[in-house]
């Protein structure tokens, strides 16, 4: 079955006639020609397909495209402003927080979404109940664990995210470990 749909990707509208089974990930990669989000497992297990929908990180392989009409969808390609890189992207380059690069757009989107969750006061599994978490190694590693990296760049991803985190008043959240 096919249906008509408008998807707003990186600030641009795309009008599609689409098989209703199509995931957001396949819509991006195979219909719209935006291959920034990657397919690593197609089961929501690796995080390579992570994009932002209305600012929240979303596994696009587990999301049917037809549910995303009207959403503001952002891929790693559309994160930067005015043709530049997002601070998280620059930090990934500076810290060599990737090797093959295949998980990287998902890691980057996940980090941006995670920093927003953190700013909104969301706790993680390692946050002491009732406290406000410092964005230290363990908090970042926990919050980024939905994004697998087979090259094993985790030890560089954590400091990259830390360096890109906005400093909060009265904390050393942006500092080195």
């Amino acid at each position: 079955m096919e249906t008509e749909l408008t998807l707003r990707i990186d600030g641009q509208d795309h009008h599609l006639t689409i098989d209703t089974r199509t995931t957001l990930l396949d819509a991006l990669r195979e219909r719209i020609g935006n291959t920034s989000a990657k397919k690593g497992c197609d089961h929501g297990q690796c995080g390579a397909c992570t994009v932002l929908t209305d600012g929240r990180r979303t596994l696009s392989c587990l999301t049917l495209a037809v549910t995303q009409g009207g959403a503001e969808i952002t891929t790693a390609e559309g994160l930067g402003q005015d043709g530049g890189l997002h601070p998280v992207q620059q930090a990934f380059i500076d810290h060599d927080a990737f090797q093959c690069g295949y998980c990287t757009p998902g890691q980057v989107c996940s980090a941006v979404g995670m920093l927003a969750e953190y700013a909104d006061g969301w706790p993680s599994a390692v946050t002491e109940p009732g406290t406000t978490a410092e964005l230290d190694h363990d908090e970042i590693a926990e919050r980024m664990s939905g994004n697998l990296c087979r090259c094993g760049a985790y030890a560089n991803i954590v400091p990259a995210v830390q360096a890109a985190a906005p400093r909060r008043e009265g904390t050393n959240a942006g500092g080195a470990r």
Partner: protein, 693 residues
């Protein structure tokens, strides 16, 4: 002796040249190259472990809207060469293992292709399958050689006599699991057959090797095959040799000429046809004097291969060169099973083999009451015991000493289970690492002066290893030019022929080709070339290999913390110190080392492909159930290297670094867990059940 390069760009740490493309996701991987109106291919796989296909009904699939073709053994094109049974796709009705590709659907969309593949109805005459590796099988056989062309067995002196006479012995069996490489980018291809040319945008460790192998299978001239691969989303050996999926993509493209066809294996299919590391059963024997001097080393390995094609992992080969001992024996025996074909995975041979040897060394140290670092120092050797040649450079002891200092090794109480912090049992472990210096016989590079810049072209690969960047550093130094004035082009058969990215041989081989071309360029055109001046040159054999054994060495140090109640293992701290010649790019090399160590941690604690003997397939065939290290599994990883000068290896003075990081890492984890708990885990992975009870 090779004329050494003067290091200017080499040794610095410029960021990846492909960095912006990778962090934005705009670097095109094989499935992503823009093509007009692509079709999509989805494989059909066998659902029995062995047997014969008696009927294939494609009518329902063909009736589906949007289906362009269904390929089966009944009507698929006959391949020109079927010598390699793994690549003889759709050429027989015999099923050799569960998950084998037995058909494919090609359709207008990926959804329809997948649905059509599901609708292909296959009936079988099923035969009993045999998929269980054991060292007590009566059909184990001795392969003619093992991977890398090494002799299957080695024997020197009399290991049995050494054992009988020894003051201290260790005789144990160690096992490593079946592992799947699982690069995050699956094996993918975009293929088009048009105007007599087959174009493959393929995810591969070598465009020229793929071209050669595909041309042979299809009966084409190599010039009629164009392979493109500027970026690879991880490989770890699995994309080093042509696999069935690429042949299938080519066949699908030839079934719909003029149309581009995209094929991506699913993660589940990756466990069936994309290669894996054989499980190993390793019998290790050490004989030693009271002072720790080894008098005998034996390493006898049992592992598996596929019934349709032999791959013999060289698991015991590194044991031949690591430590001195007058009496030595290694052997490899195989069971040929109804399974997919095992293949290269990061450090084939050294990686599983050094688990056995390096845990055995820890056991020996314990028996002797000797520090495990000192035991390794005592058994160091300046002469390669296997070849009898001196090492071109061997700094294992320096790595151990530097690592021990940096890690704070001296602070440990050697007694197992001697340190407890709260509910955590804390231990530290060490292991040695070794990896050979390989140089492939063939690779050619072009250096050209164009538009005021130097352009170096070679069909090399960047698997995330940093080739785009590090080859530019080498070219710059070889030309005596600014790094910024050098452009590198790789990953396309339009460029001169390059060897596969395997055996950590890339920089030695391609780098040497670039150096040859750059020097020839300067010799011919001087310091002030004209636009369009160009020279091509090839890597040369290294005569120093007649006189020297060449290896990189390293030492791993690990802290493990084990929950006294649950047995949960955490590794808050790893340190690797390596002696790998001149480090070309400090920033990228560190990533290579820590990536190898992280994969070693993953091997130690998580990874195992579970074969279901009833059905003959890997049951945990996805990333939720085949566990690899996630971010939160990794603590602090400290990486260091010695400033090692080796004038014999190549003009850069470099040794390969892609694989040594994983070698020995799992042993160091197991040794640390033993120190923490007193429990010796000889079967990977180190799971909770092995520490409790």
């Amino acid at each position: 002796m090779t004329e050494m390069l003067e290091h200017q760009a080499i040794g610095r740490g410029p960021a990846r040249r492909d960095g912006v493309r990778k962090v934005t996701g705009t670097a095109p991987y094989a499935y992503e190259h823009p093509v007009e109106n692509p079709a999509f291919c989805h494989p059909v796989q066998s659902t029995v472990g062995r047997g014969r296909i008696t009927a294939i009904d494609t009518s329902a699939a063909l009736a589906l809207d949007g289906v362009l073709a269904v390929l089966t053994p009944d009507d698929a094109e006959r391949l020109a060469n079927t010598d390699d049974a793994e690549l003889a796709v759709l050429q027989t009705h015999e099923v050799a293992f569960r998950g084998q590709i037995i058909g494919a659907a090609v359709a207008e969309t990926s959804e329809v292709a997948r649905q059509a593949a599901d609708l292909v109805a296959v009936t079988y005459d099923q035969a009993p399958h045999d998929v269980v590796l054991s060292d007590s099988r009566d059909d184990l056989y001795r392969p003619d050689a093992v991977n890398g062309g090494f002799p299957t067995d080695s024997n020197e002196g009399d290991i049995e006599a050494a054992l009988a006479a020894a003051e201290v012995t260790v005789t144990q069996t160690y096992t490593t699991a079946m592992y799947h490489q699982n690069p995050l980018e699956p094996h993918t291809t975009t293929a088009r057959s048009e105007d007599g040319v087959l174009t493959l945008w393929d995810s591969t460790q070598g465009v020229h090797p793929v071209r050669k192998a595909v041309a042979k299978v299809l009966g084409l001239e190599p010039d009629a095959v164009h392979v493109v691969c500027p970026y690879v989303g991880g490989a770890f050996g699995s994309k080093g040799q042509l696999k069935a999926n690429t042949v299938l993509a080519a066949m699908a493209a030839r079934a719909v000429p003029g149309r581009s066809v995209r094929l991506a294996l699913t993660r589940q299919q990756m466990f069936d046809v994309a290669g894996y590391r054989t499980p190993t059963i390793q019998h290790v024997t050490l004989a030693a004097n009271r002072d720790g001097t080894l008098t005998g080393i034996a390493h006898d390995v049992v592992e598996q291969t596929a019934r349709i094609k032999e791959f013999a992992e060289q698991t015991a080969v590194s044991t031949r060169s690591l430590y001195a001992a007058p009496n030595r024996r290694t052997s490899h025996r195989l069971a040929a099973l109804d399974v997919g074909v095992p293949s290269w995975m990061r450090a084939p041979g050294e990686c599983p083999g050094m688990f056995g040897t390096e845990v055995a060394m820890d056991e020996l140290a314990q028996e002797l009451g000797m520090d495990p670092v000192e035991l390794r120092v005592v058994n160091d050797t300046e002469i390669d015991p296997d070849s009898g040649k001196p090492f071109s450079s061997r700094n294992l002891v320096a790595c151990l000493r530097e690592g021990a200092q940096r890690f704070g090794w001296a602070d440990r109480d050697p007694a197992p289970r001697s340190r407890r912090e709260g509910n955590q049992l804390v231990g530290t472990g060490v292991a040695s690492s070794v990896y050979p210096v390989y140089r492939m016989p063939k690779s050619t590079a072009t250096v050209r002066f164009s538009g005021g810049r130097y352009v170096a072209e070679i069909g090399a690969a960047d698997l995330g290893t940093g080739t785009w960047t590090s080859l530019a550093q080498i070219a710059a130094d070889a030309l005596g030019a600014d790094l910024a004035s050098v452009e590198v082009r790789i990953g396309d058969t339009r460029y001169p022929e390059a060897s596969v990215a395997g055996g950590s041989s890339g920089m030695t081989t391609w780098g040497s080709a670039v150096v040859e071309a750059a020097r020839a360029f300067r010799a011919k055109f001087g310091a002030d070339p004209s636009d369009g001046d160009e020279v091509e040159a090839a890597v040369q054999a290294n005569p120093a290999t007649d006189d020297y054994a060449m290896f990189a060495f390293g030492a791993h140090f690990v802290e493990a913390r084990v929950d006294a109640d649950t047995g949960e293992v955490r590794v808050p701290r790893m340190l690797g110190v390596f002696a790998a010649g001149k480090i070309i790019n400090a920033r990228l090399a560190r990533s290579q080392f820590l990536g190898g160590m992280t994969m070693g941690l993953s091997m130690a604690l998580h990874e195992t492909s579970v074969m279901d003997p009833r059905f003959g397939h890997v049951v945990n065939h996805d990333l939720a159930e085949y566990h690899i290290t996630a971010n939160a599994d990794v603590g602090e990883i400290d990486v260091g290297w010695l400033d090692e000068h080796d004038p014999h290896v190549n003009a850069m003075g470099s040794k390969g670094i892609g694989e040594i990081g994983i070698v020995g890492a799992a042993a160091a984890v197991s040794n640390a867990v033993h120190h923490a708990t007193g429990v010796r885990v000889r079967e990977l992975p180190i799971t909770l059940d092995k520490l409790l009870g």
